[in-house]
């Protein structure tokens, strides 16, 4: 279990950023993952007093504070109405309600877990990561980067899209064997595959939303999959076209609703 010598409830982002410059410090969000990491740090920096737990609806986007919990996103009326209920669908399978009452979107995005339902969905929705020092960067770029010491303040999700998520789990509440997130906007259909088991990635963009089954077979054939305890590379490759087809179909149905 994680060991901290000191615990600081940051009073400002400036303070948190300055303290986090040292490698001996660590940002604490939900603490759900961190706690299990077994790391040993001089200082834990808690972001919970900074008001970063809000979901704001702007004219063209939703701005989600990094300390917003998965459960807040799952149950937020306007957010779900804008994206066809996809947050409710995608986040509900993650562990349990008590877990989702604490695990945060910032902790999920920072960690870039291969198995993340959250990252896969946000990638499909073309989200931006707003960082304290660097400002806004595309999640698709951030997702490829190594962990750094900047602090995520918000996630920005542009409106005008419909999305759907499909996942396969060995048992309910376990991490997924494969996730497919899809979105449809004016730019066409975008598909993301996560839990390959490597980090989620956009596998195709600008596709016609009503493309045929052979397109999904072709995308799966050129995507890299791997094996781990949960499933083999071959199994993932086999189910990927099915998940992509279902996600695309669900997206079209939401779009037409």
């Amino acid at each position: 279990m994680a060991k901290y010598k000191n615990y600081v409830l940051a009073q400002s982002l400036e303070e948190a950023y300055a303290l986090n410059a040292k490698k001996s410090a660590v940002i604490v969000a939900g603490n759900m993952w961190l706690r299990m990491c077994g790391l040993s740090k001089q200082m834990a920096i808690d972001l919970s007093a900074l008001g970063l737990d809000k979901i704001e609806e702007k004219e063209d986007a939703f701005l989600i504070g990094s300390m917003t919990t998965l459960r807040q996103m799952e149950t937020h009326g306007a957010l779900n109405a804008a994206f066809g209920g996809v947050f409710r669908e995608a986040l509900a399978p993650i562990v349990g309600t008590q877990f989702r009452n604490t695990a945060t979107v910032g902790g999920s995005v920072f960690s870039r877990f291969g198995f993340s339902d959250v990252s896969a969905l946000l990638l499909a929705l073309d989200a931006q990561v707003v960082l304290f020092a660097r400002g806004a960067v595309k999640l698709s770029d951030y997702q490829q980067e190594a962990w750094d010491r900047d602090i995520i303040t918000h996630i920005r999700i542009p409106k005008g899209q419909r999305a759907a998520v499909q996942s396969v789990r060995v048992s309910a509440t376990d991490i997924p064997v494969l996730v497919c997130a899809a979105s449809v906007s004016d730019a066409g259909l975008r598909l993301v595959l996560g839990a390959r088991p490597a980090r989620a990635q956009i596998v195709v963009e600008h596709l016609a939303p009503d493309c045929g089954a052979e397109t999904f077979e072709e995308i799966a054939a050129r995507t890299a999959f791997g094996s781990n305890l949960r499933a083999s590379e071959a199994y993932r490759r086999k189910i990927a076209p099915v998940l992509m087809m279902r996600a695309a179909k669900a997206c079209r149905e939401v779009t037409q609703a």
Binding site: N6, V95, T97
Partner: protein, 155 residues
């Protein structure tokens, strides 16, 4: 460090280490209903309420609780007796080890969605593992309890 917070309606303080969990702090304050099953956020046994929301006390930092309201089963004895009678009536317990965490999450469900369907009950309580009951009898008991809470008779 010293943490002051409200525990079951009473102001309390506790001396904790920077890496102590809420679970550990609550046990040190005599809240022995709060149990630890996995310590990895998977079993739901350590569930308590923080500002009215069900959380896993094994993973909430004790230091974060300063100024917040924490409720354990010790603070909900009347409700615990009602739900306990439903669980007993439906034979929904064997060893009973999961019961405190389950009950705390059922109270959260009753607050958020007292008219929950069977499917909604299952989904809400997915994070509460029980190695004995098989869950079906628990679901029946929870339906009975929610009937009492809402006064609504279910089919």
């Amino acid at each position: 460090m010293n943490v002051e917070f409200v525990l079951n309606g009473r102001r309390v303080s506790a001396i904790v280490d920077a890496d102590d969990s809420l679970y550990k702090m609550l046990r040190s304050l005599g809240m022995h209903s709060v149990k630890c099953g996995c310590e990895t956020t998977n079993c739901g046994l350590c569930t308590v309420h923080m500002d009215g929301k069900a959380v896993l006390s094994c993973s909430v930092p004790a230091a974060r609780c300063a100024g917040h309201e924490i409720t354990t089963l010790e603070g909900m004895q009347e409700e615990a007796a009602r739900l306990g009678a439903c669980l007993a009536g439906e034979g929904a317990e064997q060893c009973g080890f999961c019961a405190p965490g389950l009950m705390m999450n059922v109270f959260a469900l009753a607050k958020e969605n007292p008219h929950a369907t069977a499917a909604e009950i299952d989904a809400f309580l997915a994070g509460n593992l029980c190695r004995c009951s098989g869950y079906v009898s628990q679901r029946r008991a929870i339906m009975k309890y929610l009937e009492q809470v809402t006064g609504e008779v279910r089919a």
